[in-house]
């Protein structure tokens, strides 16, 4: 067996791995790397007489005093500050409930809660358009005819439109996050809980002393995903409200679409998208930094 080691060392042609990665890498360079660079360059250009010319930081300067852009960013951050925590807390509570030894039919519950996460964003949004209809929607029917509360002008009132949008997003993503957390919970050793029981810890104490700290990496992961998703929010406001009423649900992505594909101001739209890139990068970095600081 003298040939063994030599064959192992030089058993493939030098070219082989490059041939395997070539199709993906070539496509990737054309359709991902090039556009990322091109839109960065475009963000410093403006259109004059049909062609794009270098304009320095003009697009970025314009952003700072663009009320629509600032409104859009504020809307994104409002949703981030309210909807994301609500959704993650709900997901965690449901996951803990499902994981408890008391509950039967875990599999069926998991399917039921996960179901919203399979729907197309557009499809569930059109369903919510009707559910949230002011005069005929099921939500107002329940509030008005059964609970005898006043009807709410979902989708047409700037405040309630935001609430309605957040309700819809919460419906779509809570189960998804719940399944992520449930997978994490199942990794926590039962011995930890038994030891806590012997020490006389109650349910609430066990939740805050064991579950939350042990699950922290997973919660952080879900938090970063939700943050990125929220900052890129497009399909739901596009369908539910078109960004209205009075721009109450205008998001940054919706504004990029508007500037790029309705006003065809590619330079400005690119500048907005790069601000979004920067915000997402900074926020993710902060979340990792804060989340990682006291974890070990």
């Amino acid at each position: 067996m003298t040939g063994g080691p030599r064959r192992r060392a030089r058993s493939f042609s030098r070219l082989t791995p490059y041939l395997f990665i070539a199709p993906a890498v070539i496509l990737f360079s054309i359709f991902t790397i090039y556009p990322i660079i091109a839109s960065f360059l475009l963000s410093f250009q403006t259109r004059q007489a049909g062609s794009y010319v270098f304009a320095g930081l003009a697009n970025y300067a314009r952003l700072i005093s663009d009320d629509y852009f600032l409104t859009a960013l504020l809307n994104n951050f409002t949703i981030l500050a309210i909807q994301v925590p609500v959704q993650l807390v709900l997901a965690l509570l449901i996951a803990v409930g499902l994981n408890s030894a008391l509950v039967r039919f875990k599999g069926a519950f998991r399917v039921a809660y996960f179901m919203p996460a399979i729907t197309a964003l557009v499809a569930y949004s059109v369903v919510f358009v009707i559910l949230l209809n002011t005069d005929f929607g099921l939500v107002n029917y329940f509030l008005h005819s059964i609970l005898k509360l006043p009807k709410i002008d979902w989708l047409a009132n700037p405040f309630w439109a935001k609430v309605g949008l957040m309700m819809a997003i919460t419906w779509r993503w809570t189960g998804y996050n719940m399944v992520i957390m449930l997978a994490g919970l199942q990794q926590i050793s039962g011995e930890l809980y038994e030891a806590a029981n012997i020490d006389g810890a109650g349910t609430v104490q066990r939740f805050f002393r064991i579950t939350v700290p042990m699950l922290k990496p997973i919660i952080l992961f879900a938090f970063i995903l939700s943050t990125i998703g929220t900052l890129q929010l497009f399909d739901e406001p596009y369908i539910l409200t078109k960004g209205g009423p009075n721009n109450a649900t205008l998001t940054a992505a919706l504004y990029i679409y508007r500037q790029g594909f309705q006003y065809f101001d590619f330079g400005y739209a690119s500048a907005i998208s790069y601000v979004l890139v920067a915000i997402i990068a900074v926020l993710s970095w902060f979340q990792l930094k804060i989340g990682g600081a006291d974890s070990d």
């Binding site: 090039y34 990322i36 509950v103």
Partner: protein, 276 residues
């Protein structure tokens, strides 16, 4: 005493979970029911919660309004072709990154990986210009090509391919298989669960994809289901029966796959969670 407290806790917990599950599922029930009603019946008070008689007329209207058959065909062909090509390209690249030593490997892989962090909006404008220059607006290729090489798919396949025993690959080589033959006949078959999970994720991504098709498709004949739905909601008089039937058509195939392949489905979607 503890027994009793336990029982109450169990009942409360169970009631809460049932209520949550009800909220999760009720919109689906309502969507399917509303697909069988006319707009007037959908907006009746108290609401109609049982199936109606307008399924066929909604179907006919939807066909007349958006060309449902063609739209479903577009979505299907796009999702199937996209899934096959993307999974295959990801597997090839992932295999090379996992099982070969070559110059530049780590740098190239890192270059691919870092783009996962960049939101797709940042590529939208130049991609659109490229498609316009190529004359690809309103074509399947315009919808498909930008995501064919998928950073996430490559990453996932590389992770999974590391589990392929090197001895197995060498056995293939010794038996006289070509490198590509080894990959096709030995590596890929051993990767079936990971390929299935990735395929489910990619199929759903393309089937549900909205913003990019919205940008590159403006001929109603080329619309995918989500784009057709969004065009319905832009009409001055919206036919809600049609709309709910369209939403049902969009949801049913994915729901069927989900109910049949729950485990693979959830692992597929969760493995894809990097793309949110």
């Amino acid at each position: 005493m503890i027994e009793r407290k336990n029982l109450i806790a169990r009942i409360l917990l169970f009631a809460g979970l049932i209520a949550g599950a009800f909220l999760s599922l009720a919109p689906f029930y309502w969507m399917f029911i509303a697909a069988t009603h006319s707009t007037g019946e959908i907006f009746a008070l108290p609401p109609n919660l049982l199936p109606g008689k307008h399924l066929l007329s909604n179907l006919a209207n939807l066909q007349a309004e958006v060309g449902l058959a063609r739209v479903v065909f577009n979505s299907t062909i796009l999702a199937v072709v996209y899934t096959i090509v993307t999974v295959f390209l990801s597997a090839m690249a992932g295999y090379a990154f996992a099982k070969f030593q070559f110059r530049g490997r780590d740098a190239i892989f890192f270059g691919v990986l870092i783009t996962i962090m960049v939101p797709y909006q940042a590529t939208l404008i130049p991609l659109f210009s490229t498609m316009a220059k190529l004359g690809w607006i309103n074509t399947y290729k315009a919808v498909l090509t930008p995501n064919l090489a998928n950073a996430f798919g490559i990453f996932l396949m590389r992770q999974n391919m590391q589990a392929v025993p090197t001895e197995m690959i060498e056995a293939g080589r010794i038996d006289g298989c070509s490198e590509f033959g080894t990959f096709m006949r030995i590596v890929l078959p051993s990767m079936r669960p990971a390929l299935a999970a990735l395929a489910i994720y990619m199929f759903m991504f393309q089937w549900n994809n909205f913003m990019w098709p919205l940008v590159v498709l403006n001929d109603p004949k080329m619309y995918t289901i989500p784009v057709a739905l969004s065009s319905l909601i832009g009409l001055s008089r919206i036919d809600y029966g049609q709309l709910m039937l369209g939403a049902s058509v969009s949801t049913l195939p994915i729901m069927a796959v989900f109910l049949i392949l729950q485990r693979q489905f959830i692992s597929g979607i969760l493995s894809g969670s990097v793309k949110g």
